[in-house]
C-alpha cells in the first residue's frame, strides 16, 4: 500500500518530534558542560563561550576520577560474576528437569521487585559489622544479587531458543552434561550472555540508592553517587559546570553501548516479558 503524501508527512513529523524530545535534555547537559564558568548563569541553550575547563577540572580531581574508576571496576566485576551465576541457573531452568524451578523464578521476581530502600538499612548495618562497609566488595555483592534476577530471566528466555539437539549429539559422543554445557552450549549462548551483561552493567552503572548508603568516602563511592557530593573542582568554579561535565562523562559509555548494541538491548529487554 503506497503511503499518501499526508501520511508521509505525518509519520515524519511524529518521528522528528520524538527525536527532538529525546535529544533536547541530553544536548542541554552537553552544552551546559561546555559553558564557561563566567557564563553559566546565562540561560541560553547553547554556550556563548565554549570551554573545556569543566572537563579539565573534574579530571584533575580525585573527587571524580576515583569514583569513575570505582564505577568501572565495581560494574565490571559485578556484571561478570552475575552473568556467570545467572547462566548456570538459567541453563538449569531452560534445560533440566528438577523440582523447585518455579520457586527459583518466584524468588528472582520477588527480588527484582524489591524496594531497594527496604534493604538499605539492614545491609548498612550488616556491612558495618562485617567490615565491608565503604568497600568495593560491599557494593559488588548486592549488585550481583540484583543483577541475578535480570540475568536469570533474560538468559532463560535466550536459552530456550538454542538448538539443543547439538547437546544431545555431544552427549552421544560421550560428553558429560557439564562438558556439553561448556563446549557446545556456551558458545551458542554467547550472544544472549553479551546482551545480559550489557543490561546488568547498565543497572550497576545507574544504581544510586545503595551507592550513597553503603559508602561514605570516595574509596568506594561510584560516579553517580559522587555527583551528588560534588562541591566543585576548585573554590572559584561553580559546581554546575563540573557536575554537568561529570554527567556527560558517565553518559558517554551509555551512548556508545546504545549505538553498538541497539538490537541486543531491545531483544534483551523484551525477551523475558513477551515470551513469558
Amino acid at each position: 500500500m503506497a503511503a499518501t503524501t499526508r501520511q508521509k508527512s505525518g509519520w515524519i513529523t511524529a518521528n522528528v518530534v520524538t527525536i527532538l524530545l529525546v535529544l533536547i535534555p541530553v544536548v542541554w547537559i552537553f552544552s551546559l558542560s561546555f559553558k564557561d564558568p563566567s557564563s553559566i548563569t546565562d540561560p541560553t541553550f547553547f554556550p556563548t563561550k565554549w570551554t573545556w575547563a569543566n572537563y579539565k577540572g573534574i579530571f584533575n580531581s580525585s573527587e571524580f576520577t576515583r569514583p569513575l574508576l570505582n564505577s568501572i571496576g565495581i560494574g565490571l566485576i559485578a556484571t561478570f560474576i552475575s552473568v556467570v551465576l545467572a547462566s548456570l541457573a538459567a541453563y538449569a531452568v531452560a534445560r533440566l528437569a528438577f523440582p523447585g524451578k518455579r520457586a527459583l523464578i518466584g524468588l528472582s521476581l520477588l527480588i527484582a521487585m524489591f524496594p531497594l530502600i527496604s534493604l538499605a538499612t539492614p545491609l548498612f548495618n550488616i556491612e558495618r559489622q562485617l567490615g565491608i562497609f565503604n568497600t568495593w566488595l560491599g557494593l559488588i555483592i548486592p549488585y550481583i544479587a540484583f543483577g541475578l534476577p535480570l540475568g536469570i530471566y533474560t538468559l532463560s528466555a535466550f536459552f530456550r531458543e538454542i538448538p539443543w539437539e547439538l547437546e544431545k549429539a555431544a552427549k552421544m559422543d560421550g560428553a558429560t552434561p557439564f562438558q556439553a554445557f561448556v563446549r557446545v552450549i556456551a558458545p551458542l549462548a554467547a550472544p544472549g550472555m553479551v546482551t545480559t551483561a550489557i543490561l546488568v552493567f547498565l543497572f550497576c552503572w545507574n544504581e544510586f540508592l545503595l551507592a550513597i548508603t553503603l559508602t561514605s568516602t570516595i574509596a568506594a563511592r561510584t560516579a553517580p553517587a559522587a555527583l551528588a557530593f560534588f562541591t566543585g573542582s576548585s573554590q572559584f568554579a561553580v559546581p554546575t559546570g563540573s557536575i554537568s561535565a561529570a554527567a556527560v562523562v558517565i553518559t558517554i559509555p551509555i551512548i556508545i553501548f546504545v549505538l553498538l548494541f541497539q538490537r541486543r538491548i531491545v531483544a534483551g529487554l523484551t525477551s523475558g516479558a513477551v515470551k513469558g
Binding site: 520524538t18 541457573a89 550488616i126 544479587a145 528466555a157 529487554l269
Partner: protein
C-alpha cells in the same frame, strides 16, 4: 485464552512426572543433582543479600534503635509502626508517591503506546528512533536529573527562562510536576519497547480481515490490538508501577525531598541516614515493602497479570 489452554496441557505431563518420581532413573537423578548444583550459587547470593536482610529489617523495626545512642537499643514491639502510621509525614509521603506513580505510569502508558505504534508502523527513520529512545532508558538517572534541575533553575536554565525566569522547583505542586516529567522522559522508552514487543504478537491477517469488514483504525485498535496485547500491557504496567513507587533518584537530585516533595523512599532514607534512627527507618522500609507486595498482588490476582517467566 490460548495461554490458559497451554497452561492446562503443559500441566498434564508434570503430574505424570510426579507419579514416576519414585522410579527415577540414574540419569534423571543426575540431572536433578546438576539442576540443584547449577542454581545453588545464584540462590545463595540472592537469599544472603535479599531474604536474610529483610528479616533483619523486620527485627530492627521492632527495636528502639538510634545510632546516636546504640547502647539504648531495646525491643519495643510495634511502637515504631504506631509512630510511623500516626505521623502525618508518612501519609504525606505515601500520597506524594501515589500521585507520582499513578500520573507518571498513566502518561507513560499513553505516550509509550503512541511511541510503540510509531516504531512499529513508521516508514521513516525506524532504526534511528529505535536507537535514539534507548538513550533515556540507559542514561544514568542522576545525570538526567541534574539536567532537569539546571534547566529549571532561574538564571541558569533554558526552561526557567522560557517561563519568565520562574523557580518551579521551590513550589510543591510544580516541583512534583517536574519530578513526574523527569520520570516520564526517562522511562517511557522502556514502556514503549515492552509494548512494541506486544504489538508484534498481533497477527497482521486479523487486522487485514477487520479492515476488509470495514472496521475503522480506532475500532481495530480497541477491539483487536488492545485485547491481544493485554498480557504485554499488564507486564509493562506492573514493572513500571513497582518501579515508580520506589522513586528516589530523581527526587533526591531535583528537590532532596524539600517543600513537601518527599516520597516514601526519601522519607525512609532521611530517617535512616540523616536522623540515624534505624528503628523508625526500618519500620518505614517494611511498610514500603508491604505496599509493593500489595501492588504486585493486585496486578497478578485482580488483573491476571501473568508474572513473566512463571509459564516457562
Amino acid at each position: 485464552m490460548t495461554a490458559k489452554t497451554e497452561a492446562v496441557t503443559t500441566g498434564e505431563p508434570q503430574v505424570t512426572e510426579r507419579k514416576h518420581r519414585k522410579r527415577l532413573s540414574e540419569g534423571a537423578r543426575a540431572e536433578r543433582r546438576l539442576g540443584f548444583l547449577l542454581c545453588a550459587p545464584a540462590v545463595i547470593v540472592m537469599l544472603a543479600v535479599a531474604a536474610f536482610p529483610i528479616f533483619y529489617a523486620v527485627w530492627l523495626s521492632l527495636q528502639r534503635y538510634d545510632l546516636r545512642f546504640p547502647n539504648e537499643a531495646k525491643f519495643i514491639g510495634f511502637s515504631n509502626y504506631a509512630a510511623v502510621l500516626s505521623s502525618q509525614y508518612w501519609w504525606h509521603a505515601l500520597w506524594v508517591t501515589l500521585i507520582i506513580t499513578v500520573v507518571s505510569v498513566a502518561v507513560e502508558f499513553v505516550l509509550g503506546m503512541l511511541l510503540a505504534i510509531l516504531m512499529f508502523r513508521t516508514l521513516f527513520f525506524r532504526g534511528t528512533v529505535r536507537t535514539i529512545i534507548l538513550i533515556p532508558y540507559g542514561i544514568v538517572t542522576v545525570a538526567a536529573a541534574y539536567g532537569w534541575q539546571y534547566a529549571w533553575t532561574p538564571n541558569t536554565g533554558y526552561l526557567s527562562a522560557l517561563f519568565n525566569n520562574s523557580a518551579p522547583l521551590t513550589k510543591t505542586g510544580t516541583a512534583i510536576a517536574i519530578i513526574i516529567l523527569a520520570e516520564i522522559w526517562k522511562t517511557t522508552p522502556f514502556m514503549a519497547l515492552l509494548l512494541m514487543a506486544g504489538l508484534s504478537l498481533v497477527p497482521e491477517d486479523l487486522q487485514k480481515a477487520a479492515r476488509v469488514d470495514g472496521a475503522s483504525a480506532w475500532q481495530r485498535f480497541v477491539r483487536i490490538t488492545l485485547p491481544l496485547m493485554k498480557p504485554a500491557i499488564l507486564v509493562a504496567l506492573l514493572f513500571r508501577t513497582l518501579d515508580a513507587f520506589r522513586v528516589f533518584d530523581n527526587i533526591y537530585i531535583l528537590t532532596a525531598g524539600g517543600n513537601g516533595t518527599y516520597s516514601v523512599s526519601i522519607l525512609g532514607y532521611d530517617n535512616l541516614f540523616r536522623a540515624l534512627n534505624l528503628g523508625i527507618g526500618s519500620a518505614i522500609s517494611i511498610l514500603i515493602f508491604i505496599c509493593v507486595a500489595i501492588i504486585a498482588f493486585i496486578f497478578i490476582r485482580l488483573f491476571g497479570a501473568a508474572a513473566p517467566g512463571t509459564e516457562g
